[in-house]
């Protein structure tokens, strides 16, 4: 399976999630979008949206905390799968090769970015990242379109945000160090169970690292690289020796998969 096929699959997954969310809204089975999806009466809030709004704890019912716990558990188990397969900005990573990445640098930048964003949000009493969040902007544009109140300026604003992230900040910086959504998922994922693992066929040729959009040296099996990995599968597709594959493996278990 080549990288171009992965790009097509990723386009499909991004579109399928949006289509599902529109269909759920139109049928009334679930309401809301990425920022908060209410399934039946169970709200699943974006963990980052929640963290920026400390007053929610006092202002609402415990249901929101249960939904949040489920979301966090899913992230902890699966890591940055959202970044690699659902996020509309994450699609841009498919066009990148990046050789100079460093798992440790990514985690450090993510920590600083997430912490500074949350501190400024709490000081201002305003969820500042939600203003820029590309996922939230897509969500809002769809919600406006569904009610027939979408205006051209809101679309232009969305395009501006996407342009700044992809052209000015550059995607590999955004997804590999700035985006607080990616940061939260990376920092929560030391326990994730789906990991790309190198088998004994690996010759340490580093073709995987050169093809990784974030420059991760996933074949070395370092925790920091696994945390930043978006499971985009590019390394798996590009490995000439078919040495890499996704495996269910827990860092807690003593038997590491290495066949």
């Amino acid at each position: 399976m080549g990288s171009s096929r992965l790009l097509k699959i990723n386009l499909l997954t991004v579109a399928a999630v949006i289509a599902t969310y529109v269909a759920l809204n139109l049928s009334g089975v679930a309401l809301g979008g990425y920022c908060l999806l209410s399934l039946g009466n169970m709200p699943f809030i974006c963990p980052l949206g929640f963290l920026q709004r400390p007053s929610i704890v006092e202002a609402t019912t415990h249901a929101i905390l249960i939904g949040l716990a489920i979301t966090l558990a899913l992230i902890a188990l699966h890591g940055r799968i959202f970044c690699g397969w659902i996020c509309p900005i994450g699609l841009g990573l498919r066009f990148l090769k990046h050789d100079k990445g460093n798992g440790r640098g990514i985690i450090l930048a993510f920590s600083i970015s997430l912490a500074s964003m949350l501190i400024v949000s709490w000081i201002l009493g305003f969820p500042i990242f939600c203003l820029i969040c590309p996922v939230g902007i897509v969500s809002r544009i769809i919600a406006s379109a569904l009610t027939g109140s979408l205006d051209l300026w809101s679309i232009l604003w969305g395009i501006t945000i996407f342009a700044v992230i992809t052209l000015v900040l550059r995607i590999h910086n955004w997804c590999g160090g700035v985006c607080p959504l990616g940061a939260l998922q990376a920092l929560l994922s030391p326990l994730k169970i789906l990991r790309i693992k190198a088998s004994s066929r690996c010759t340490r040729c580093r073709i995987c690292a050169r093809n990784c959009p974030l420059g991760l040296e996933i074949h070395k099996d370092r925790e920091v690289d696994h945390m930043s990995c978006t499971a985009c599968m590019k390394c798996v597709a590009e490995c000439p020796f078919k040495a890499l594959k996704p495996a269910l493996s827990s860092p807690l278990s003593s038997t590491r998969l290495r066949n």
Partner: protein, 194 residues
């Protein structure tokens, strides 16, 4: 990299301080500052309004302000709000659907979304026509009283439902719904009060 790390705090705090329009919020909204924090812009209240109410709510666009985008507003040009003297009285689908507490339960007699502002220069009755549609559709006793064929507005009685704005036949409309006099939930040490 440094630019990247400073981008969100700088751009976010700058954008959050840009001026925004004052809009009419759904019934039971908390104070504006807290509302902007609590509202996740999920659009669920807007959905609930269009499926169970009359569909007066719509998400704010970017022209209402960057920090407002996606938050709900009452647009009486779409439909009047039925929270008082209407199909939503006592059940408030928007409030009940809000998952984050940005909209909170409010008794029908306490609902006041704002009040209407009247532009005599556009009013058919003032311009010599025969029109008292606003007074006819107004459900609030004594909020619009005709005097010599011209409507007189009593904003202290107005609940801000927007029925008169919706019905006004003038083009452009002689009436605008404004948040002036709105009643919001206040956040205090003892929880919420009105």
């Amino acid at each position: 990299m440094v630019l990247g790390l400073l981008f969100i705090p700088l751009a976010g705090s700058f954008l959050s301080m840009l001026p925004s329009r004052r809009v009419v919020r759904p019934p039971g909204a908390v104070d504006e500052k807290l509302f902007l924090e609590l509202c996740t812009r999920c659009g669920i209240c807007v959905d609930a309004c269009s499926s169970e109410g009359r569909g007066t709510l719509e998400p704010c666009g970017i022209l209402d302000g960057v920090s407002m985008m996606g938050t709900p507003k009452v647009n009486p040009l779409r439909a009047p709000c039925e929270a008082r003297y209407g199909i939503c009285e006592g059940r408030l689908p928007c409030v009940k659907s809000c998952p984050t507490g940005a909209l909170r339960w409010i008794e029908p007699e306490e609902i006041k979304l704002g009040s209407v502002s009247w532009s005599p220069g556009r009013c058919i009755a003032v311009l010599g026509g025969e029109c008292l549609v606003c007074a006819e559709v107004c459900p609030v006793p004594g909020a619009i009283t005709p005097r010599n064929g011209i409507p007189v507005f009593h904003s202290n009685r107005c609940v801000g439902c927007g029925r008169c704005v919706y019905a006004c036949p003038a083009d452009p409309k002689a009436l605008i719904l404004m948040p002036e006099g709105e009643r919001r939930h206040h956040w205090g040490r003892a929880g919420f009060s009105r």
